[in-house]
């Protein structure tokens, strides 16, 4: 398995799609940080507008504070948090995981390994680990780009205690592993990079919007929809700040386990060409 993992990592390093995605992530992170910084500078205007609206409708202005006050402004942690939770990174991760995983099917190189007696479990595990590493590198590039800009603009002061910061970061790491496993499962089922990129991007979003539309009709759905992985990624930091950090961790574990099980069940029965 050591050899397999090493070979997978070399393959990743040589993959043009991967390198391009790392660069895009880095640039995208920087761009988003600048954009957020600009938005925050003009935040006062937004808050003012919303407060006026809320008052017009005769509602309590507390909800405005609730909406805007949740995030600590103008510090590095805020950047990391918002970059991780804004969801842009998951599309890039979808592209990377899908193209790396499906490449093995389209080039036919999987058969070279199976025909040499490697167990499918070993091949699957090595691929999964390498894909998780790939998605972490993507996430890291994204966050690093944004953080460096954030650091330059606002310094590293933070209003959140370190414990919570680390917990939230851990939650993201776990959710990312779950997401990576899910994309890998999709690629295993689709076997073609185009198809699996499309499915990886469309289906999770589709499910999220189905949930949100249904939530308008049935209140209970809201409670269910928050456990959908995409919504968990968006809201992970809130759970931590609210003291219910276990929720994203349990969700991550659940999705990870399920994706690995389904993915492997499919892979172990597949006819390899």
């Amino acid at each position: 398995m050591g050899g397999l993992l090493k070979a997978n990592l070399i393959q990743m390093k040589r993959s043009r799609a991967f390198i391009v995605c790392v660069i895009i992530s880095l640039c995208f992170g920087i761009f988003m940080a600048l954009l957020y910084s600009y938005a925050w500078q003009n935040n006062e205007v937004t808050i003012q507008t919303v407060t006026t609206l809320v008052t017009q409708y005769g509602m309590d202005t507390d909800i405005v504070d609730e909406a805007f006050g949740m995030l600590p402004k103008n510090n590095l942690w805020a950047y990391i948090n918002i970059l991780l939770s804004d969801g842009s990174i998951i599309y890039i991760a979808a592209v990377v995981v899908s193209s790396l995983a499906a490449a093995e099917y389209t080039s036919g190189t999987l058969k070279n390994l199976i025909a040499r007696g490697y167990s499918r479990l070993g091949i699957f595990s090595a691929k999964l680990i390498s894909l998780l590493i790939a998605s972490y590198i993507i996430a890291f590039a994204y966050v690093a780009g944004g953080s460096v800009v954030g650091l330059i603009l606002y310094g590293s002061t933070t209003t959140i205690d370190t414990d919570k910061m680390l917990t939230a970061l851990m939650a993201y790491i776990c959710l990312f592993a779950a997401l990576g496993a899910m994309y890998f499962m999709i690629a295993t089922i689709c076997r073609r990079s185009g198809a699996s990129i499309a499915v990886s991007i469309v289906v999770p979003l589709f499910i999220a919007s189905v949930f949100s539309i249904m939530a308008m009709a049935w209140k209970d759905i809201t409670d269910i929809s928050q456990y959908w992985i995409i919504n968990q990624i968006v809201a992970a930091q809130n759970y931590v700040l609210e003291g219910s950090a276990w929720i994203p961790f349990v969700c991550a574990l659940g999705y990870f386990g399920l994706s690995c099980m389904v993915g492997y069940a499919v892979f172990s029965r597949q006819d390899i060409r």
Binding site: R14, K111, A115
Partner: protein
Amino acid sequence: MEYVLETQELTKIYDGMPVVDSVTLRIGQGDIYGFVGKNGAGKTTFIRTVLGLTKPSGGSFSFFDGMELQQAGKKIGSLIESPALYRNMTARQNLELYCTALGVDKKYVDEILDIIKLKDTGKKKAKDFSLGMKQRLGIGMALIGDPELLILDEPINGLDPMGIVEIRELILEMKNRGKTVFISSHFLGELEKIATRYGIIASGRLVEEISAGELKKICTARTIIRTDDPQKAKRVIEAHLKTDAVEEGKDSVTINMPLEDIGELTNKLFTEGITVKGISNDDNSAEEYFIKRMEGK
């Protein structure tokens, strides 16, 4: 070692149709086993089944006197249908990566590049290779780890005449080193030059196994006698030789068996008043023999 590959009633069913149908065969060490059959006969499916790429629907197989693929696999090199390559890597990178995956020393990569004549492709990526270059690299991948058993599915597809000779020499050298080669090919003439045994598969069934020696006997034993009256000649020969292995043609008869005394037979025909216009042995008969068997005849 008693055998290198053995299958027992191996069966693969696709969509209700047996594509490999109860194939029982045994390949001994040092054999060059030619696996022949028409398009769609089930050759590739047989190979894919024993190499774990698809699950058998029935029967069993084992390697090297009872080993499962998981233990034996390291000693089996294979090229199945089209060569599987990392498209965005060079020949060397492909071979090295495969060495890494298999945990094999990379020091043989140079030697393999030499054998497959891809040493000077430099920075060219596999995706820009010609058909034959890809095929050569695929064969190179199969050679990694100095396998005891080489399974090659249509290995000379797309190779130039030089390439074909090189692969032939490579296979013969493997044999000299005590290795075993299982080779499926449509190039019967080429196969005839190297194979020690043949398996003929038709509609998934192994219709015949024959050694090169036996094949040679059958084939050189074929004698064609040109005559005016093939009908009568057939009767006379069958009675004289006490056989029914005589075929009647338009202006000839074909005797599909070894003849001990051709002179005696021609005398007999002469005394029966049959004019013999010519006698010949047919060179192409091995090919014809295969084709007949492949058709299930």
